[in-house]
């Protein structure tokens, strides 16, 4: 049985259907990426799961119990971090975590131990006496994450946690989330930064206009959506010392002579072009490999000093772009 099971969830605001018949599941120890453009219904779905809102239809089961029918029983199992971190600017890190620990009914030594352990885990111990207003965005986000961990929930719901963070903070967040998943917690995370998500999530759910477009393990979603694309982007590099105008023109001419090659561009040592099929045809992995080999062979035969040649892998961004249409409601 899945830890989290969302079943036919629907949420309407008057005539606007923000969430339409959304269903997905998440196991303990799994990180599920909830992907969608702004206004897709991600936050609404997450708020319903976090017991902050009620659905118009459907249900959410957490550990087999309905979150909708018994929100009070579900709350101790959930740690929710909204896109606004919700930290009090005039409290120190310790005071903030201590306050929420008190609110979670932790008492005496147990509370102190829990706060210390959370500060240790999130790397906040050294900053515990600093006001949260003096912290960087990345550190504030850690404080907010620490708050969600105080009562040791089974499910973490993180709404756009990486938004606005610098690269270092994002990498550190990724490490923290991996560690949490290893502890057996299910993590439901939404983000716009798909490359970031791709490296940490096990499963994903792509949503647009309130409708779930694709769901499953990342490999499944990539496999399903790979067939939809009809082109492959290829990037090659030539020997830097051989770069000159004549070579650039020669490469461009050569590429244009090749079947199924379009949009060639040469900028310094970098060569880019697209291998494409007729619209509606699917670019399989085997086809893209064969086409790439054919072009590489032609370049080498023409004595172009190629030092690297790679076709870009179909990734989560491609999957997202191929199933969504950029519609908003």
């Amino acid at each position: 049985m899945s830890l989290l099971s969302v079943k036919n969830l629907t949420r309407s605001y008057g005539s606007l259907q923000a969430v339409k018949d959304v269903s997905f599941e998440c196991e303990a120890g799994q990180i599920l990426g909830f992907i969608g453009p702004n206004g897709a219904g991600k936050s609404t779905t997450m708020r319903i799961i976090a017991t902050l809102d009620v659905p118009s239809g459907g249900d959410v089961l957490l550990d087999g119990e309905s979150v909708v029918a018994r929100p009070d029983q579900a709350r101790p199992l959930i740690g929710y971090m909204p896109d606004r971190y919700g930290t009090y600017e005039d409290m120190t890190v310790f005071e903030f975590l201590d306050f929420f620990a008190r609110a979670y009914q932790l008492r005496g030594a147990e509370r102190k131990a829990r706060v210390d352990s959370v500060m240790e885990f999130t790397g906040l111990a050294a900053l515990q006496h600093k006001l949260t207003s003096a912290l960087s965005k990345g550190m504030k986000q850690r404080v907010a994450l620490g708050r969600t961990l105080l009562h040791d929930p089974k499910l973490l719901i993180l709404d756009e946690p990486a938004d606005g963070l610098d690269p270092r903070a994002r990498i550190e967040l990724r490490e923290l989330l991996r560690a949490l998943a290893q502890q057996g917690k299910a993590v439901l995370i939404s983000s716009h930064i798909l490359t970031e998500l791709a490296e940490i999530i096990d499963t994903c759910a792509i949503i647009e206009q309130g409708q779930l477009l694709a769901t499953g393990t990342v490999q499944d979603v990539l496999a399903k959506t790979a067939g939809v694309s009809s082109s492959v982007e290829v990037e090659a590099r030539v020997l830097p010392s051989a770069v000159n105008d004549a070579l650039a023109k020669k490469i461009e001419r050569l590429l244009l002579e090749q079947p199924q090659v379009s949009a060639p561009s040469v900028s310094g040592e970098l060569v880019r072009f697209t291998l494409g099929l007729a619209p509606g045809s699917a670019a399989t992995a085997e086809w893209s490999q064969q086409a790439s080999v054919r072009v590489l062979r032609a370049l080498v035969a023409a004595e172009v000093p190629v030092v690297s040649f790679t076709s870009r892998e179909h990734d989560l961004e491609d999957a997202f772009m191929s199933v969504t249409r950029g519609r908003v409601q």
Partner: protein, 466 residues
Amino acid sequence: MTLHWTERLAEWAGPMVVKELRQGLRAKVFGVVFGLLLVVCLVVAVVAYGQANGAVGTALGARFVVVYLLALGLVAFFVIPFAAFRSMLREVEGETWSLLILTGLDSRDILRGKWLTSMSQAALFASACAPFVLFSYELNGVELPQVVVALVVCAVWSGTLTALAIGLATQARSRLANSTSSVSIIGVLLVAMWAGDAVMGWLVDSPYSLSRGSALLLPVATLALGTTALALESAAASLRLPTELARARPRVALLLTMVSTLAVTALMFVRVRGGRDGATFGALGLGFYLVLVGLFAISESDGYPPHAPRGPLVRPGALRSFLLVAVLLVLMAGTFVGCLRVVGLDGRALRSVVASAAYPLLYLSLAVIVGRWRVFERFGVALATRVAFLSLVALGFIVPMLFCLFTGQQLNARGPNTFNPFLGLANFVDDVGFEFDWNLKVLAATALFAAGCATVVLSRRDGAWK
């Protein structure tokens, strides 16, 4: 392991009080105001000592107690409620209150914590003033009961204003509401500070004030205490998450507030053998109070979730709140009519009492009906009802006057102004004859008919809500 007594106290007080105290004591405003209050008190004490020194049989106490109470009033009636307002507003703006509710804290715990902390701070300020007030008592001219009652009034009024300020902050869910409430609270608190200081000054001004004013003070204090509970309960209900059932507590608080206030008022009225003016003043005041409360009560959300517990009072929805306000208006009029009968019925007083209930009932009912019209609907249920009420009152005031103007009658002519909420009411209060009774009957019948129509409208809304 045995906990330190401060830790035990913190556990007992609850997380909200601990948090608010930590934040409050760190805020610069607390230290600055505390320091300023001490300096003012010290300067006044030096002046008082200078004036009293060498003078035999002086009675300067009352004058200086008033000065101390004014300084305390500035803090208790303005600084503390405003700080509580800002604190709650930050909670609403940052949506941190929803995170607090997810921890298992009840919205009542959040508000109670904020209110208790504000009151603790008020107590700290009062304790700073206490030695100086006692010093003034030594200067003669003021009795200890006067000072104690003035301080009790200060505490009650400060508590009520703080609760209202917290309640107002919970309504600021949009940028417009945020700005409007921030501006309004300053105006309201300034007026309330002036009123509170005036009452405290009057209490310590004369040794006879206390006995003369008790007939008014006790009902007002009862109403203020009830309003404190009502404001906190209403704020807690409005902070509830959609996943939580709406609570009946605001309605229960309103019922208890009005019943206790009416009981104390009736008791004092009969005890001091109150006259026509007392009944008129009481009915007008309570009628106005019920209009203010009613404006929020009748614009409550429609209907109830299918899993709401059964029972007429427990279920949320505007219908039950409207019916309660209507019943309370009738109860209020009935109580004063009963009081007037006990002390000897006066026809004119009866008219003003009935009119004080009929106008609020009429215009609140019309607001419920008109608020459903398409032109108002875009504001949403709550705001539409309030906007409709204000528009109708304005129309009810202007249209009869224009009619009188064009037909060459006096602006306050009785007939055309029967439904005028201001001039009509003034006519009923001022009227000297008995020939005006039919206007009252028409007004009362119309108000009851409108209330019936409003009930039907609300019942349909309840039924349509899913």
